[in-house]
């Protein structure tokens, strides 16, 4: 390194950039995150792609440095001598402290902007209360007074999901929608950030019509791997028609935002005292 000519450095830089490009292309071609089923998915996927390119660059730097060093400085068989007594290079060390700091701070700022974007409240969001219990889901459309074990969404409308769990921790995730949040026992449906200090409101705007799965992503017991529900994005007309066919929310349904209260109960029964 102390003897590295500018020409060698530029050649190594060129190899690094080439490797970065190849790696980035290879890593960006597959659709890792899958279908972009929500408005939020696009922002998240773009952020992911940018990070993939940055990662390809960092990995390439490491591999080129290591590969070059192995190629150039490998001891010949029988060579017992030592390497150069180089203790460091202050300027280089400052550079490789400051540049990564700049990169990660850039990533942090970008990520914060994306976060604000995907959590922004829309004017016309539709509230759906999500209740999780070992091992089933329930979705209450409180404004319409309807309940269902399937989550249907009118395409293009922001859902405002109020989350609660009746027994243990669960987590709500639709991979195509990207959005995930834990459902916490003790969360209040009507006072989202009140006494319990549990941030149990999450927003998502499904955009692509299709049938997906709600997947539980917090270990909740022996039924965790099969705790799923249907999530369906459909046109507003289809949604209204589906909604009108659902059951009414029973009077005093356990864990209902309207009637209030948590407590033990069975989703299968669908109703009991609060």
């Amino acid at each position: 390194m102390k003897d590295m000519t500018p020409a060698t450095f530029l050649r190594l830089l060129a190899v690094t950039l080439l490797l970065t490009t190849v790696a980035s292309v290879l890593m960006l071609i597959p659709d890792w995150n899958g279908l972009q089923g929500s408005a939020e998915a696009k922002d998240i996927d773009t952020l992911t792609d940018v990070m993939i390119v940055l990662s390809a660059f960092v990995f390439s730097v490491v591999m080129v440095m290591m590969g070059y060093a192995i190629w150039k400085y490998r001891a010949k068989p029988g060579d017992e001598s030592d390497g150069e007594p180089i203790h460091g290079n202050t300027r280089l060390e400052v550079v490789w402290t400051l540049i990564p700091t700049a990169i990660v701070l850039f990533a942090g700022v970008y990520a914060t902007l994306v976060l604000d974007d995907i959590e922004a409240e829309a004017a016309d969001s539709m509230r759906v209360d999500v209740t999780a219990q070992q091992f089933a889901w329930r979705f209450d459309y409180v404004d319409a007074g309807k309940t269902s074990t399937e989550l249907h969404a009118p395409s293009g409308t922001q859902l405002e999901l109020h989350l609660q769990a009746l027994d243990v921790l669960h987590s709500f995730w639709v991979p195509e929608w990207r959005i995930k949040r834990d459902l916490v026992p003790g969360a209040s449906l009507d006072d989202p950030e009140g006494d319990a200090d549990i941030d149990n409101v999450v927003r998502v705007t499904p955009t692509v019509e299709g049938t997906y799965s709600v997947v539980c992503t917090e270990l909740c017991g022996w039924g965790h791997s099969v705790m799923r529900a249907v999530a369906k994005t459909e046109s507003p007309e289809e949604f209204e028609s589906w909604l009108s066919e659902q059951k009414d929310i029973p009077e005093g349904q356990v864990g209902t935002g309207v009637a209030g209260g948590n407590g033990a109960g069975s989703l299968a029964e669908g109703q009991s005292g609060g």
Binding site: V104, P185, E193
Partner: protein, 642 residues
């Protein structure tokens, strides 16, 4: 027989366990009878007549074994039996099964015991992968499966990675600083013997009603507070493993601060010593919190408290804060000693001083400080206070900087060096750099909240953690074992078998864990016995490679056992390294040094003719064992400073 039972040892230990267990059992029975409660409460979270003996029996065992003999005598004001050092050193295999205060014996006890747990943990992983080979449930039912991954992780973390580094350092560090032993040899031995107790408690959970603990190694409440009896065994096992870890860390801190050989200033300490200093700071600061979190769960279970009982006003999410306040520093506890090992090995086999030594030491300290400020990145989707997320993301991203400094410094060390790749330890060191960088990259991605929202609790996280724990920690563990095997055993291992071990392990590791990134991003959650059919092909691929990975470790076992028995005798310094442990024979004399070494220069003064790190002759500067000292003692030519 009474004579045997009066001496500390295994027979008296089992008697102690029996008496301790009986005492605990009797205490519960008596107190419950007096209080008018049903004597044997067998609600699955309860079983006090099992829980209390599970604590008192191991303590009785330790007392019988002799772990507290000296302290009891001293506390009672009785004349203590001067240490005639008969409990020091190992002259036969039996000495490894005693309460032995020699740090070298303790180091080997740790390494062998923890590797046994490594293989148990590995078998559990094979069970996991067997089930996941195909969609559907074929091998185990989902409840048992949850127990498999929970015990796999708990054993790997608490009984392998954390303590094996303590074992390697136990052996090497006193030698490396020129000390005759650790500051507190008796405490050191006690620390070791608490470890198998923790392991037995974890494994005992398999045979109690309800089976092995199955709420994940993370044991989130309220799943853990309502779980069957096995969960309580996890809560208790963590206490013993944690106590072992904390006592060892205290021992290292005092040893490093007070027992360095004359001339070894902080800036002349080898980086392994810096790394263990940093790790010990993490351990003492963080471990009490996981002990606390597990106690709170245990109390909710057995004593009816409501720390995490939402209906009674408890705070469910607080468990996660307390748990992760330890468990994030824990991942650095599991990596920093490895960083130290890599520095020792790379400098030795590149025949070159570590590039940027001071910044390397400062980076370790920087990681220690930041490690306590990032825990909530495990909770971005937990429903905690929204405002905490962005600050924790920033600190999480910042901790990549000191880590990156270390990677670049190791790479910088390779330049203008004389690189030797024949040694297995060097292969693992370089392989570690590649796999750890991959793990670090996925870590930075996970640190970004919008990305984490999508991939949290999916196989993307499983990929990340195995890249940093296997590609990171385990690779450095192997690196250290191969490097110090000659010193510890007095034998050389078979280098060709070592190379086979490395390459098979590296390839199998990549094949096992790379695809996990993809299936996680595509939608496969973690901790599932079954998954959507679309993930079948990759899971089968992963399972095949994981079995190759498992089998590859047998090469290591064979090499170690056969070489230890029959390998060629090792010289004092087969790698021509500079640090003090290589100045004494392989294995070292029982009391390490016939005379205290004197440190006269930095630890890696390769390339400076005649430069020495330490010399063994006391007194005059002149006579020494290998050539003239440098003209100015304590500095090196070449542009840096010590």
């Amino acid at each position: 027989m009474t004579a045997t039972l009066k001496q500390p040892g295994w027979p008296r230990a089992f008697l102690g366990a029996l008496l301790g267990g009986a005492f605990g059992f009797g205490l519960v029975v008596a107190l419950r009878a007096i209080s008018g409660l049903e004597i044997f409460q067998t609600e699955q979270t309860g079983y006090p007549h099992v829980i209390v003996p599970a604590v008192t029996a191991p303590i009785g065992w330790l007392i019988g074994f002799g772990a507290f003999d000296y302290w009891f005598r001293w506390a009672a004001g009785r004349p203590t039996i001067p240490d005639d050092h008969s409990s020091h050193g190992a002259y036969s295999w039996k000495d490894y099964f005693k309460f032995n205060t020699d740090h070298k014996v303790i180091g080997i006890q740790y390494i062998v015991t923890t590797f046994a747990f490594f293989f148990i943990g590995g078998l559990l992983a094979m069970g996991i992968r067997a089930e996941l080979a195909q969609p559907g449930t074929q091998v185990v039912d989902p409840g048992v499966y949850n127990g498999l991954f929970s015990t796999h992780a708990a054993i790997m973390i608490f009984l392998f990675i954390v303590p094996v580094f303590a074992g390697i350092a136990n052996y090497v560090l006193p030698l490396m600083i020129g000390a005759p032993d650790m500051a507190f040899p008796r405490l050191n031995a006690l620390s070791f013997w608490m470890l198998p107790i923790g392991g037995i408690l974890f494994l005992a959970s398999f045979v109690v009603p309800g089976g092995a603990f199955d709420a994940g190694w993370t044991g989130y409440a309220p799943l853990s507070t309502g779980a069957p009896l096995g969960q309580s065994f996890f809560n208790l096992g963590v206490q013993f493993a944690g106590a072992s870890s904390i006592a060892t860390a205290l021992n290292f801190l005092v040893t490093i601060v007070t027992m360095r050989a004359p001339g070894m200033s902080f800036w002349r300490m080898p980086l392994l010593v810096w790394a263990n200093l940093s790790t010990s700071l993490l351990v003492v600061g963080a471990t009490p919190f996981v002990a606390g979190a597990q106690f709170m769960v245990l109390f909710d279970r057995v004593l009816g408290t409501n720390f995490f009982e939402a209906a009674a006003g408890g705070d469910v999410i607080s468990y996660q804060h307390i748990f992760w306040f330890y468990s994030h520093p824990a991942v650095y506890i599991m990596m920093l000693p490895g960083f130290g090992i890599v520095s020792e090995v790379i400098s030795t086999h590149a025949r070159k001083t570590i590039f940027g030594y001071r910044l390397m030491a400062l980076a370790l300290l920087g990681i220690v400080v930041l490690a306590f400020a990032v825990w909530a990145h495990h909770m971005f989707v937990a429903g905690m206070f929204a405002w905490l997320r962005v600050p924790m993301m920033i600190t999480t991203l910042l901790i990549a900087v000191p880590t990156g400094i270390k990677i670049f410094s190791w790479l910088g060390t390779l330049f203008d060096s004389k690189l030797h790749l024949e040694n297995t330890s060097m292969l693992f060191a370089l392989g570690f750099i590649v796999t750890f960088v991959i793990g670090g990259i996925s870590g930075v991605m996970l640190g970004m909240i919008p990305i984490d929202i999508h991939v949290s609790d999916t196989y993307f996280v499983v990929a990340h953690l195995h890249f940093v724990l296997f590609g990171g920690s385990v690779f450095t563990i192997y690196c250290g074992i191969y490097h110090w095997f000659p010193k510890m055993t007095g034998r050389m291992y078979d280098e060709r078998l070592g190379r086979w071990h490395f390459w098979l392990t590296a390839i199998a590791m990549l094949g096992t864990f790379i695809p996990m990134h993809w299936i996680g991003m595509e939608g496969m959650p973690r901790r599932v016995a079954d998954y959507a059919a679309q993930f079948g092909d990759w899971n089968l691929f992963i399972t095949v490679f994981s079995f190759i990975l498992g089998v590859a470790q047998l090469i290591f076992v064979y090499n170690m056992i056969v070489s230890w028995r029959f390998g060629p005798k090792a010289p004092a310094n087969p790698w021509r390294a500079k640090t003090i442990e290589w100045l004494v024979s392989s294995p070292p004399p029982v009391f390490n040094f016939d005379e205290i070494p004197r440190v006269v220069g930095g630890p890696y003064e390769f390339g400076v003719p005649g430069a020495k790190h330490a010399i063994l002759t006391e007194g005059e500067e002149g006579a020494d064992v290998g050539g003239p000292e440098p003209a100015v003692v304590g500095t090196a030519s070449g542009g840096g400073s010590d």
